[in-house]
C-alpha cells in the first residue's frame, strides 16, 4: 500500500494522475498550503501541489529568477520550462513567500520565450499575513473571486453543496493523516518518517477519494505494524518546504527516526480541520488563514514555538532538526530563535541550511547528522 503512495510521491506524473487526465479531467497546480484545495476539488478538478521533483538543472530557473532566490520556485519553473508540467490546465500562484510569488512573473515571462508552457488558467491568489477580522474578510473575498474566476474560465459552477462535500472529504482524509501521525509519534513508531512523508506527498497529487480510501486501509495496517523505534534517536523535522524523501532517508540512515514534523509538505497540511457547519467559503477562509504555523504569518512566533513544544513533548523527541532552504530567511531566521528557545528547555537542536532538490550535499549533511547523533545519543 505504501509502495503505491511512494510511487505517487516520487514522480511528477503518477498513474492516478495519468488516469485522471485520460478521463479528460482538469488538473490545477498550486505551490503552497494557503490555497484551499477544496475549491479545486469542488470544481471537479484535481488539486496538484507544485514540486520540483526530478530537477537536474536550473538553466531555465536561473534565467528568470535572480541569483539569491530559493531553489524551490526555481525548480518548479525549470520543470515548467522543460514542459514537464504540460498536464496542468491551470495554476494558482500565491504569496506564500517572496520567492514563490515571483513565480507569477517568471513563469509568464518564460512563456514569451518558450511558447505553450503557461497553462490556460493562471491566477495570482493573495493571502494576508495576519489574522485580524478584516484580514479574514479580505481573504474570504479573495476566495470568492477565485471561485468566480475558475467558474468563468472553465465554464462550470462550484456550488455550496459541492464545497461542503469537498470539505467533508478533505476533513476525513486529514483525520486519517492525524491518526497516522499518532501512530508515528507514539512509543512504538509504526511508520518511518520517510514513509510518512511519502503518504502525505501522494495526497497532493492524486484524486482525494482514492487517496482517502487508501489511507483508511493504511491506518488499519499500521495499527498492527511492528514498532520501528528501538535503538533509534527520535527526531522532529522543522523548517522550509521539504518534499525530498531521500533527505529523510539520509536522516533515518544515521540512526534516527523522524517521528514528527511541522513541514508544509508534511504535518502542517493536515494539522487542523475546516468547520463543516458554517458557510463553506467563510469556513475555508478561517481554516486556511488561521494556520499561522508558517513564518510568513508575521508576529506569531509564540504560537509556532508552543506548537513545536507541544509536538516535541507528545512525540518524546530526542532532538529537533531545524532546516531551511538557502535564501529562505523566514524559516532560516526563525530557526535561530527556535534553537535558542528549545535548547533552553533542554531540547537539542541542529540547524541546517541546504538546497532544495536532489541531494547534492549528501556528504556534508551526513557528516553533520553523525555529529548530531553523537551529541544526543
Amino acid at each position: 500500500m505504501i509502495g503505491k503512495l511512494k510511487e505517487a510521491a516520487s514522480t511528477l506524473s503518477n498513474p492516478y494522475l495519468k488516469k485522471w487526465k485520460e478521463a479528460g479531467k482538469a488538473v490545477i497546480g498550486y505551490p503552497c498550503t494557503f490555497v484551499p484545495e477544496e475549491i479545486i476539488h469542488a470544481a471537479g478538478m484535481l488539486p496538484y501541489r507544485l514540486r520540483g521533483v526530478g530537477t537536474t538543472s536550473l538553466s531555465i530557473g536561473d534565467t528568470y529568477f535572480g541569483p539569491v532566490i530559493c531553489s524551490f520556485p526555481k525548480c518548479v519553473l525549470q520543470l515548467a520550462g522543460q514542459e514537464s508540467y504540460r498536464f496542468l490546465d491551470g495554476v494558482i500562484i500565491t504569496n506564500g513567500c517572496d520567492s514563490m510569488r515571483r513565480l507569477d512573473e517568471c513563469w509568464r515571462k518564460a512563456e514569451e520565450d518558450i511558447a505553450g508552457i503557461l497553462p490556460g488558467y493562471f491566477r495570482y491568489f493573495g493571502v494576508p499575513h495576519k489574522t485580524a477580522s478584516y484580514s479574514f474578510d479580505w481573504f474570504e473575498q479573495e476566495i470568492r473571486e477565485l471561485i468566480r474566476s475558475i467558474e468563468e474560465h472553465f465554464g462550470l459552477q462550484i456550488t455550496d453543496s459541492a464545497l461542503r462535500k469537498s470539505i467533508r472529504l478533505y476533513n476525513s482524509s486529514r483525520r486519517l493523516l492525524q491518526r497516522i501521525d499518532e501512530l508515528r509519534s507514539g512509543p512504538e513508531v509504526r511508520i518511518s518518517g520517510q514513509d510518512a512523508l511519502a503518504v502525505v506527498l501522494a495526497g497532493s497529487s492524486m484524486p482525494r477519494e482514492r487517496y482517502t480510501s487508501i489511507l483508511e486501509g493504511l491506518v488499519k495496517s499500521l495499527e498492527s505494524a511492528p514498532g520501528r523505534a528501538e535503538g533509534k534517536n527520535r527526531l522532529m523535522l522543522v523548517g522550509s518546504a521539504s518534499d525530498d524523501l531521500d533527505f529523510i532517508r539520509l536522516i533515518e540512515d544515521s540512526g534516527a527516526i523522524v517521528v514528527a514534523d511541522t513541514l508544509c509538505f508534511g504535518a502542517r497540511s493536515y494539522s487542523d480541520l475546516t468547520d463543516e457547519k458554517d458557510d463553506p467559503v467563510s469556513a475555508l477562509s478561517r481554516r486556511y488563514l488561521s494556520n499561522s504555523l508558517c513564518p510568513r504569518m508575521f508576529g506569531y512566533y509564540r504560537n509556532r514555538l508552543s506548537h513545536i513544544l507541544d509536538k516535541a513533548k507528545k512525540a518524546r523527541v530526542d532532538g529537533v532538526i531545524l532546516q531551511n532552504i538557502r535564501f529562505c530567511d523566514l524559516h532560516g531566521s526563525e530557526n535561530g530563535i527556535f534553537e535558542r528557545d528549545l535548547e533552553r528547555r533542554g531540547i537539542p537542536c541542529m540547524r541546517m541550511e541546504r538546497e532544495y532538490g536532489p541531494l547534492v550535499e549528501t556528504g556534508r549533511i551526513r557528516m553533520r547528522l553523525d555529529a548530531f547523533m553523537e551529541r544526543i545519543s
Partner: protein
C-alpha cells in the same frame, strides 16, 4: 562581536559624532577644520554632505536632533518604536513616540564608523539570523539585539505583503527581544475600494495599538499640526521632483539622499520642512543659472536608480556621480506619491492627499500616505501590473528623460531579485539601457565599491551613454 565594539552603544556613538559635527557649524571655519582632524573616519562623508552648503548643515543638524531624541527618549518618558524606512513617521510624532528607524541607522553606521557595520551585521547571525537576511536592517539591528542601544518599547512595520525579509527582521526582533509587534499588511493591489478599505482598517488598528502602547489617546491638535506640516512637505517635495525634470538637472545628486533620509527620520516635523526649503533654494538657484547639480555644473548623463542607492563607506557613490557629471534623478526611495507629484500624471488614484477636515480625514490621509511609501507602493504586486515597479520606472524615465536605469539592492532582497531580470529585460525592450548591479548597498564585503565603479563605467562606456555630451 569584538570586545571593544561592546564598549559603546551604537546609537550613542552615532549621536556623539553627529552632534559634535552639527555643533561645529555654529562656530568658526577654523573650528570646523580642526574638528575634521579628530574624525578621520567620518571626514569624507561629512565633507560630501557639508560641501552642499546650508542644506548639508541642516541635514547634519536634523540627524543630530533625531539621534538625540532616540538617546533621550527613556529619560524623557517617551516611548520608542523600532520601525522601518518605508513606514511614514508622522503618526508616531503625533503620538510623541520616537521612531527608531533601522535602515537609516544602518546607513549612518556605514558612512560614519571606521569598520562600517560589519560586526553588527554579523552579530545578527550570531543571534540567529541567516547570513542572507537583508543587510539594511541587520547593520543597526545587531546593536539592538546585543543590547548596545536604547531598548525599543515596541515594533511597527509595514512590510508584510511588500518585502518578506524586511518584515522578517522586525518579527525576529519582536520575538528575540520579547516586545509587542504591530504589522501593517498590504494586499498586492494598490487602488480600488478593497485595497483602500483594507489600508484604512489596518491603519485604524495601528492607531489603537499606539493608544494602547502609549496609554494616551490621540491628541487631535498635535495631530493637526503634524498634518499641516505634512501638507507643506508634500508641496515642497513635488517642486523638488518637478525641478529634477530640467535638463541639465539642477538637483545635486546627494539631495535625493537628503530628501528621503529627512523624510524617513523626521517626516511631519518642522526640521524636515526647513531642510526641504533649504534644498529648494539651492536647486532653484542652479536652475536659474542653467547649472547642473554636479560638481562641475555640467551634466554628462542622467540616471534613475530604480530601487535603492549605494551607501557604504564615505558616501563614495554620491561623490562618484558628482565627479563624473552624472545626474542622479532619484530612486524608489525618493518617490512618495504625494498629490501633485509630477510623476502621478494621469493616475490620480496612485497618490495620497492630505486632508484635515476631521479626525477621520486625518487618519485616512496618514493611512494613504503610508500605503504610498517607497517600496510599499511599487513592489507589492506583479512588477508588470499597473501602478507597479515597471509602470512606475517607465513613468519616471520618460518624465525625467533618463539615459539609463541602474538597480542596486541587497543580497536579502528576495522580492526584487525574484523579478529584476525580466524587469530589466522589459526596460531594455522599451529602449532604456538597464544595469543590474550585484553589490550589496550596505555591505562592501559582498562586492567592493571599486568593483561596482568598474561595472558602472564599463556599462556607460559599452552603451555609449553620455559619450561626448556635456550640457
Amino acid at each position: 562581536m569584538k570586545r571593544e565594539t561592546r564598549e559603546y552603544n551604537y546609537d550613542w556613538m552615532m549621536w556623539t559624532i553627529v552632534e559634535n559635527a552639527a555643533a561645529a557649524f555654529d562656530g568658526s571655519r577654523k573650528e570646523y577644520e580642526t574638528l575634521l582632524r579628530f574624525i578621520p573616519n567620518f571626514r569624507d562623508s561629512l565633507d560630501a554632505i557639508v560641501r552642499q552648503g546650508e542644506p548639508g548643515v541642516l541635514l547634519i543638524k536634523l540627524m543630530a536632533k533625531y539621534l538625540r531624541n532616540c538617546i533621550n527618549a527613556p529619560r524623557q518618558g517617551k516611548k520608542t518604536a523600532l520601525t522601518t524606512f518605508c513606514f511614514a513617521p508622522p503618526v508616531l510624532y503625533a503620538f510623541d513616540v520616537v521612531p527608531v528607524v533601522l535602515e537609516p541607522m544602518t546607513v549612518m553606521g556605514t558612512f560614519i564608523l571606521q569598520r562600517g557595520t560589519a560586526e553588527y551585521l554579523d552579530y545578527c547571525c550570531e543571534a540567529g539570523f541567516t547570513e542572507t537576511s537583508c543587510s539594511s536592517q541587520r547593520g543597526a539591528l545587531g546593536a539592538y539585539l546585543a543590547g548596545l542601544a536604547v531598548r525599543p518599547d515596541f515594533i511597527i512595520c509595514d512590510s508584510p505583503g511588500i518585502c518578506d525579509t524586511n518584515a522578517n527582521s522586525y518579527s525576529f526582533a519582536s520575538a528575540y527581544l520579547g516586545i509587542p509587534f504591530y504589522q501593517l499588511n498590504y494586499p498586492s493591489t494598490l487602488t480600488g475600494s478593497r485595497a483602500t478599505d483594507y489600508h484604512r482598517q489596518d491603519f485604524r488598528g495601528l492607531v489603537a495599538f499606539l493608544e494602547e502602547q502609549t496609554g494616551t489617546a490621540l491628541d487631535i491638535e498635535r495631530f493637526r499640526q503634524v498634518i499641516a506640516e505634512m501638507r507643506k512637505q508634500s508641496v515642497l517635495i513635488s517642486e523638488f521632483n518637478e525641478l529634477q525634470r530640467i535638463v541639465p538637472s539642477p538637483v545635486p545628486g546627494i539631495f535625493n539622499l537628503f530628501l528621503y533620509s529627512g523624510n524617513f527620520l523626521m517626516g511631519g516635523t518642522e526640521d524636515f520642512t526647513s531642510l526641504l526649503e533649504s534644498m529648494l533654494k539651492t536647486v532653484r538657484q542652479n536652475a536659474a543659472q542653467g547649472r547642473a547639480g554636479t560638481l562641475s555644473g555640467r551634466e554628462r548623463a542622467r540616471g534613475f536608480f530604480s530601487y535603492i542607492d549605494h551607501y557604504t563607506t564615505d558616501l563614495r557613490f554620491w561623490s562618484f556621480l558628482e565627479r563624473h557629471d552624472i545626474s542622479h534623478l532619484g530612486c524608489i526611495l525618493s518617490t512618495f506619491w504625494q498629490e501633485n507629484a509630477p510623476y502621478s500624471g494621469d493616475r490620480p488614484d496612485s497618490v495620497y492627499r492630505v486632508k484635515d477636515a476631521d479626525l477621520d480625514d486625518m487618519i485616512d490621509s496618514l493611512a494613504l500616505q503610508v500605503s504610498r511609501m517607497p517600496m510599499v507602493k511599487s513592489i507589492r504586486g506583479p512588477y508588470d501590473a499597473p501602478d507597479m515597479w515597471l509602470d512606475d520606472t517607465l513613468t519616471m524615465t520618460r518624465l525625467l528623460r533618463t539615459d539609463f536605469v541602474a538597480y542596486f539592492g541587497t543580497i536579502g532582497c528576495r522580492n526584487t531579485w525574484g523579478m529584476v531580470k525580466p524587469y530589466a529585460r522589459d526596460l531594455e525592450r522599451e529602449g532604456m539601457p538597464t544595469l543590474i548591479l550585484y553589490a550589496d548597498a550596505f555591505d562592501d564585503r559582498v562586492q567592493s565599491w571599486e568593483a561596482v565603479i568598474d561595472r558602472i563605467q564599463e556599462f556607460l562606456a559599452l552603451r555609449r551613454i553620455g559619450a561626448g555630451r556635456t550640457a
